[in-house]
Amino acid sequence: MQSGKIVVENLYKVFGPHEQEAITLLKQGWSKDKILAERGAVIGVSDVSFSVEEGEIFVLMGLSGSGKSTLIRLINRLIEPSAGDVFIDGQNVAKLPHSQLIDLRRRDMSMVFQSFALMPSRTVQDNAAFGLEVAGVGRKEREQRAMAVLKQVGLDTFAHKFPHELSGGMQQRVGLARALAVNPSMIIMDEAFSALDPLKRREMQDVLLELQKTHRRTIIFVSHDIEEAMRIGNRIGIMEGGKLIQVGTPQELVDNPASSYVRNFFETVNTSRYLTAGQLKADSVPLYVHNGKAPDALKVCQDLQALDKHYAFVVDEEKRFRGSISLERLALLVDNGRTCALEANLLKQIAPLTEDQPLDQIIERLVDNEGPMPVVDSQGFYAGAISKGRLLTRLQEE
């Protein structure tokens, strides 16, 4: 068995008659369409296995009808699975007796809905306290806890309003507050921000990411918006026709799409925004090692002229970045006849970029810095350089 907060193994859902027979036929290689035509059964989810790590935001993507909404409802068992297992903290939810399932839902999981699904006759506060009320928490405590979560989503001043008096974005904040109030370790979000306009959607994504910073929860997020998926997802799972066809980090999916179906998702996206420094870097800048003895300025100057380069980097013996120097400055030093060693005080100090930084975080520094920018890996060792020319070439390729 795989490990993880949520582990889904060989999960199936068949709607209609002959559930078990349909699964047997699927395993024998019958297609979805054939089973529908000959047995009248609709395959909702077919042999899905994946796991979600503690504290991870896992985004499920797919076209409508691909089974993503069904899949998440199998996880909290709003829909009964036809076959397969769903382990949450090692406990098999698919086989749980009903009373324990209710207990689990009250205690440790909650859900956010596309249409917000607030109760129109309850105030914002009573909506936020709904889960606590169901779990039998006393009025005073649940009102306090509801207020606390409303404050987290910035709605404490609207506590006594009714849902219809709030805008869509605010209503979904209430939906989010309701999900947070029970303090669950996992939240299922079904197209939670899809009904909002793009600006509000971004704002809600920020609210969610901010909440994750203070308290990491395991989140399964269904979306059909690839930008959203890449923005908030630690990993993305792509669904097609009830099957989970690929799982990976956003970058892995961009780099190695398993099929044209997956690639099509990313076609409309400006993927360059998700390029990282590691992917942009190159060995374009001559490198000199300061091994106790600084490199000689004259030699560096001649090398650069021969190579038709304008900058050089100096690293120490451990490959830690020490600084950069331009041909212009070197020429100045050498012309004066001072064939000196390139000690640290002669070098330009630049804070290097790290490999995992995405383009939108580093582009300003790339533009502002006169020469190429050094890139270091996660341990701080020099890994390469990004010049403006290199950046433009890569952007054109994308």
């Binding site: 207990d103 839902r105 009250r106 859900m111 109760m119 709904f130 169901v134 219809h164 029970v182």
Partner: protein, 295 residues
């Protein structure tokens, strides 16, 4: 007209059989219904006419507005002046008792049929039958089983007026937004919590529409039920037909119409505006009205 199949005589036999073997059960059921409706009528008779009128006018003012309150006041004064007040209160009592019994039976049945396809399938044709069978037809077996008076009238009225309560409760619960129901389930509602915290509150507009329909149908039926001696305004309507007294028919018919309008608007207001307005407490309402008048 020759008959190949004599359904009618079978029904006669069934009623005869019931009468011969279960008259004790019908008698005790009858006395329960009779006691219940007499209690309600006594309750309505208890306050003086002006107080009951003031109560309705106040209700109209709270739920709908000043113009409707004025209409209510004028209507009731008109009824009092034409001398139909007492009969109107009797009719009101009959309507209320029949409505309460209908709701007491109809709403749970509606809930049950919303939760079970089989119950829904069985109740549907029965409700069709109850609703479309000409209302007079119930009066005959009811009178045979329960004797003349208010009881057969109420029983026949309950049969006639209950279907909308069942139907609209069922419909209201089934029409609750699917995601709201899922929200209830996903936060761990058990089946009782789902019903009382999610389904019924969200089905309220539809259920109130059912209550409104039931009241209106009950009112129309208790008039007809005067044929078996149920009393109230129906007696005057019946008398006007028998005596061809157009004036009496107009006066008593007018009282029925005014009562119907008042009951309809007031009960309708509970179905439509409850969700939109804030929780109006009586004191916040009074203070708001007072402020308005000072301006």
């Amino acid at each position: 007209m020759s008959k190949e199949l004599d359904l009618g005589s079978w029904v006669n036999d069934v009623v005869q059989h019931l009468l011969e073997n279960y008259s004790g059960a019908f008698d005790s059921l009858g006395s329960v219904v009779s006691g219940f409706s007499e209690g309600i009528e006594a309750l309505l008779m208890l306050p003086p006419a002006w107080l009951l009128i003031a109560l309705f006018v106040g209700l109209g003012l709270w739920r709908i507005g000043a113009r409707f309150a004025a209409f209510t006041a004028v209507s009731f004064v008109l009824i009092v002046l034409t001398g139909f007040w007492e009969q109107t209160v009797v009719t009101l009592g009959l309507t209320f008792s029949a409505t309460l019994i209908s709701l007491l039976l109809g709403i749970p049945l509606g809930i049950w049929s919303a939760r079970s396809e089989r119950v829904a399938m069985i109740t549907r044709p029965i409700l069709d039958f109850m609703q479309t069978m000409p209302a007079f037809v119930y009066l005959i077996p009811a009178a045979m089983l329960f004797g003349l008076g208010r009881v057969p009238g109420i029983i026949a009225t309950v049969i006639f007026a209950m279907p909308p309560a069942v139907r609209l409760t069922n419909l209201g619960i089934r029409q609750v937004n699917k995601e709201i129901v899922e929200a209830g389930q996903s936060f761990g509602c058990n089946s009782r919590q789902l019903l009382f915290k999610v389904q019924l509150p969200n089905a309220m507009p539809s259920i109130m529409a059912g209550v409104n329909q039931t009241i209106m149908m009950a009112l129309s039926m208790v008039i007809i039920a005067s044929m078996v001696g149920a009393g109230g305004l129906g007696n005057d309507v019946l008398a006007s037909i028998q005596r061809l007294d157009i004036g009496l028919g107009f006066e008593s018919g007018m009282a029925v119409v005014l009562l119907a309008i008042i009951l309809d608007r007031i009960t309708e207001s509970f179905g439509t505006t409850r969700q939109v307005t804030h929780k109006t407490t009586w004191y916040s309402w009074v203070s708001a009205k007072l402020k308005l008048q000072r301006q």
